[in-house]
C-alpha cells in the first residue's frame, strides 16, 4: 500500500530511485527487522538455551516436558505483560505478588454471589487496589517503589488476616476438576497458555498501535514533555497500575483453579514477583522506563521457564538449582546485552 510513498524521500523526482532502494531494502528487511526489534536478542538467547538443553537431554523436546514447562512460564508471562506497562512509564509495581495471593481469598469471600460474579468482583477489588497504587504515585507523588512495597505488605497481611492463615479450597472447583469453568480458567492443560498468548497479543497491539500505548511510552520517556503536549499523564499512570493489578489478580484465579487450593504463603507469591520483573527486564523492558515490549516479556518468561525446567530434567541437585539459575541468568543477560549492541550497530541511523 502506501509503503513506498511513505519511505521515499521528499519530492517527486526522487521517486524512482527511492522505489528501487525500497525494493533492495525489502530483501534485507527480514533479518534486519528481526534484529532491530527490541526483543530480538532475547529470542536469540532463548533459542541458544533450547538448543543446549535439547542436545544435552533427549527428554527436553517432548510433549510431556512441554506440559511441565507451561506452569513455569504462562502465569509469569501474563503478569509480566501488565508489569511492562507500568515499567515503561518509569514506575514499578511490587504489589503484584500480593494481588496474586490475595485474589483467591477475597473470591472465596464473595463466593456466595456465584462463582463467576464472585471471581469478577474479586478481580475488581484488586483493580481498585491498583487504582490506589496509581493514585498514590501519580497524584500524591509517592515513589512507586515505596507505595507498592507498602501495599505489598498490607495486602499480604490482609490475606493472612482474612484467611486466618489457613489454606482454602478454590471456589467453583469440583472434585473431578473437569467442569467447563475449570477448563477455561486454568484447569485445562493449555488454558493458561492460551490466556497468556491471547493477553500478550492484545496488550502488544495496545502498546504498539493505540493511543494508550503511545502515551505510556511518552509518560516514561518524558513526563514533563508529555504533560506539556497535553497528555493526561496521571490518568495514563493510574490505568496502567489498574491493569497490572487486574492481571495479577486474574493469574491468582487461574493458578488457584489449576492447583484447586490456595495457600496464604506470602513468600511464594513474592518469589513470583521477582520472576515477573526478571521476565520483563530480560525481555528488554528498561528499568528506567520509556521502552519495553510485551512480547519480549513473554519470551523472557519463556526463557526463565526453559532454564528452570532444563536444569531440573538435567538432574541438577536441588541445592544447586538457584545457584545455577542465577549464574545462567547473568550469562544470558551478558549475551543479551552483547547481541543488542550488535543489533543497534546494524540498525539504521
Amino acid at each position: 500500500m502506501a509503503v513506498t510513498s511513505d519511505t521515499s524521500p521528499r519530492g517527486a523526482p526522487a521517486r524512482g530511485a527511492a522505489d528501487s532502494r525500497a525494493r533492495r531494502e525489502a530483501g534485507l528487511s527480514g533479518v534486519r527487522r528481526f534484529l532491530t526489534l527490541r526483543e530480538g536478542s532475547i529470542v536469540v538467547v532463548t533459542v541458544i538455551a533450547i538448543i543446549y538443553f535439547a542436545t544435552s537431554n533427549s527428554r527436553f523436546f517432548t510433549g510431556t516436558n512441554f506440559k511441565t514447562l507451561l506452569p513455569y512460564f504462562a502465569p509469569y508471562a501474563i503478569m509480566a505483560a501488565g508489569q511492562v506497562f507500568v515499567m515503561i512509564t518509569g514506575e514499578i509495581d511490587l504489589s503484584i505478588g500480593a494481588m496474586y495471593l490475595f485474589c483467591p481469598f477475597i473470591w472465596e469471600k464473595f463466593h456466595g454471589l456465584g462463582t463467576i460474579p464472585g471471581m469478577i468482583l474479586a478481580i475488581l477489588v484488586c483493580c481498585l487496589i491498583g487504582a490506589f497504587n496509581g493514585f498514590a504515585v501519580a497524584v500524591v507523588g509517592i515513589s512507586s517503589f515505596v507505595t507498592t512495597l507498602g501495599v505489598l505488605f498490607a495486602i499480604d497481611g490482609l490475606t493472612l488476616v482474612i484467611s486466618h492463615s489457613t489454606p482454602i479450597n478454590t471456589p467453583g472447583v469440583t472434585v473431578l476438576g473437569n467442569s467447563t469453568f475449570e477448563r477455561i480458567f486454568g484447569g485445562g492443560t493449555y488454558s493458561e497458555l492460551i490466556w497468556a498468548i491471547g493477553i500478550v497479543i492484545i496488550l502488544q497491539l495496545l502498546l504498539s498501535f493505540t493511543r494508550w500505548g503511545i502515551y505510556t511510552v511518552s509518560v516514561g520517556g518524558n513526563r514533563l514533555g508529555a504533560s506539556e503536549a497535553g497528555i493526561r499523564t496521571r490518568l495514563v499512570l493510574i490505568r496502567n497500575f489498574v491493569m497490572c493489578a487486574g492481571l495479577a489478580a486474574f493469574v491468582g484465579v487461574l493458578e488457584a483453579v489449576r492447583t484447586t487450593t490456595a495457600t496464604p504463603d506470602p513468600s511464594g507469591s513474592n518469589d513470583i514477583l521477582f520472576q515477573v520483573i526478571s521476565a520483563a527486564v530480560i525481555g528488554g523492558t528498561l528499568l528506567q522506563g520509556g521502552s519495553g515490549t510485551v512480547v519480549g516479556a513473554l519470551i523472557g518468561a519463556l526463557f526463565l521457564g526453559i532454564l528452570h525446567d532444563g536444569l531440573i530434567i538435567n538432574s541438577v541437585n536441588a541445592n544447586y538449582l538457584d545457584l545455577y539459575l542465577g549464574i545462567a541468568i547473568l550469562i544470558a543477560m551478558a549475551i543479551n546485552t552483547y547481541v543488542s549492541r550488535v543489533r543497534t550497530g546494524s540498525g539504521r541511523g
Binding site: A2, R10, F209, G221, L224, A229, G290
Partner: protein, 305 residues
C-alpha cells in the same frame, strides 16, 4: 529564577513606568494585571499586554524575567495567581494545555515537549493522533503521509520520519516541535525561543515560515527571542519584560537594535550599581551580612549582536 526577582521587597520603583494596559479593537489575546509567584520568587508582578489579530509580537527580557512563565500561563500549563486573561473576546482561563488547544491556542515549549523514544511522525501527532474508526488503532500510514507533507511545507530536511527523535540534531528536533504546533489548527501560536538550537539556515527557514503565516494573516503569534536582529526582522511589535512588568511596548518600526540593547544594558548597569551600593552599605554597617538579596550577580544583558 534569577536574582533580580528574589527576596527584596521591591520598594524601589525602578526608572521605568508601568505601561498602562494598551488595547486595540482587534485583540485576540488580552492579559490584565497578571501576577505569578513560585514560593518566595516573584516571576510575574503585574503584566498587562495584548496581541492583535494577525500580529507577531516579540517578547524580550532577561533570563528569568518571567517570559516563559507568561507563555506557560497563556498555553494553559500554569495558572496565574492574580489577574485576568481574555481570548477572542471571551474570558480565558484554560485548565489544561488540552483546553487551551481546543480554544485555538498552541505552544512550542522551551524544552520542546518531544518524546525521544517516539518517532518523528508520532511526535508530530502526539495528543492529536489519527486513528481508524471502529477499532481505535492508530492509522500510522495516514499520519506518516501528513507528517511528510507538513515537514515539506516548512522545508526542513528530516532524513526519515520513521526514526526516534532522539537520533535527530537539536535544530531538527526544534523544527519538529515548531512544525507540530503550526500544522495544527491553532490560530494563536506561542513560541518559546523557537530558534535556540538552530543553525543559521534552519533558523532562517523557521523565520520564513513565520513570515508566511504572518502574510496569510490567519494566525497571531507571540514569540520569545533573544536575538534582536531576528526580533526586528520577524515581529510587528516588541514587549520587554523587566522585573515582572512590561517595561517597553513599541512597534518594531519605531525601535532599533541599538535602542533595545541600550535599554537592557542600562538595566544591567543599574542593577550593578545597586548591588555595589548595597555592598557598600553592608560594609559600612554590619560588615558580615553580605549574603542577602542576590545582590552579587546582576542579570546579564543577553545581547548577541
Amino acid at each position: 529564577m534569577a536574582d533580580d526577582t528574589t527576596p527584596q521587597p521591591q520598594p524601589h520603583a525602578s526608572a521605568q513606568t508601568i505601561v498602562a494596559p494598551a488595547t486595540a479593537d482587534d485583540d485576540v489575546v488580552r492579559v490584565e494585571h497578571v501576577g505569578k509567584r513560585f514560593g518566595p520568587t516573584i516571576a510575574l508582578r503585574d503584566i498587562s499586554m495584548h496581541l492583535r489579530k494577525g500580529e507577531v509580537l516579540g517578547l524580550l527580557g532577561d533570563n528569568g524575567a518571567g517570559k516563559s512563565t507568561l507563555i506557560k500561563i497563556l498555553a494553559g500549563f500554569q495558572k496565574p495567581d492574580t489577574g485576568t486573561l481574555w481570548c477572542k473576546g471571551q474570558s480565558y482561563s484554560p485548565s489544561s494545555v488540552d483546553e487551551a488547544r481546543r480554544l485555538g491556542v498552541d505552544c512550542v515549549f522551551q524544552d520542546l515537549a518531544l518524546i525521544n523514544e517516539l518517532t518523528v511522525y508520532q511526535n508530530l501527532f502526539l495528543q492529536r493522533e489519527r486513528h481508524h474508526r471502529p477499532i481505535p488503532f492508530l492509522s500510522n500510514a495516514l499520519m506518516k503521509r501528513e507528517s511528510r507533507k507538513a515537514l515539506d511545507e516548512i522545508g526542513i530536511n528530516i532524513p526519515s520520519i520513521d526514526v526516534p527523535v532522539a537520533r535527530l540534531s537539536g535544530g531538527q528536533r526544534q523544527a519538529i516541535a515548531v512544525a507540530r504546533t503550526i500544522s495544527g489548527d491553532a490560530d494563536i501560536i506561542l513560541l518559546d525561543e523557537p530558534l535556540a538550537a538552530m543553525g543559521a539556515k534552519e533558523g532562517a527557514m523557521i523565520l520564513d515560515v513565520i513570515g508566511r503565516l504572518k502574510a496569510e494573516g490567519n494566525v497571531s503569534i507571540i514569540m520569545i527571542l533573544h536575538n534582536y536582529v531576528h526580533v526586528l526582522a520577524a515581529c510587528d511589535r516588541v514587549n520587554l519584560i523587566q522585573e515582572g512588568v512590561i517595561g517597553l511596548d513599541k512597534p518594531t518600526a519605531e525601535t532599533s537594535v541599538e535602542e533595545l540593547t541600550e535599554i537592557v544594558v542600562e538595566e544591567y548597569r543599574r542593577a550593578r550599581l545597586e548591588a555595589q551600593e548595597e555592598e557598600r552599605r553592608h560594609a559600612a554597617g554590619n560588615g558580615s551580612d553580605v549574603t542577602s538579596a542576590g545582590a552579587g550577580s546582576a542579570p546579564s544583558p543577553d545581547v548577541r549582536r
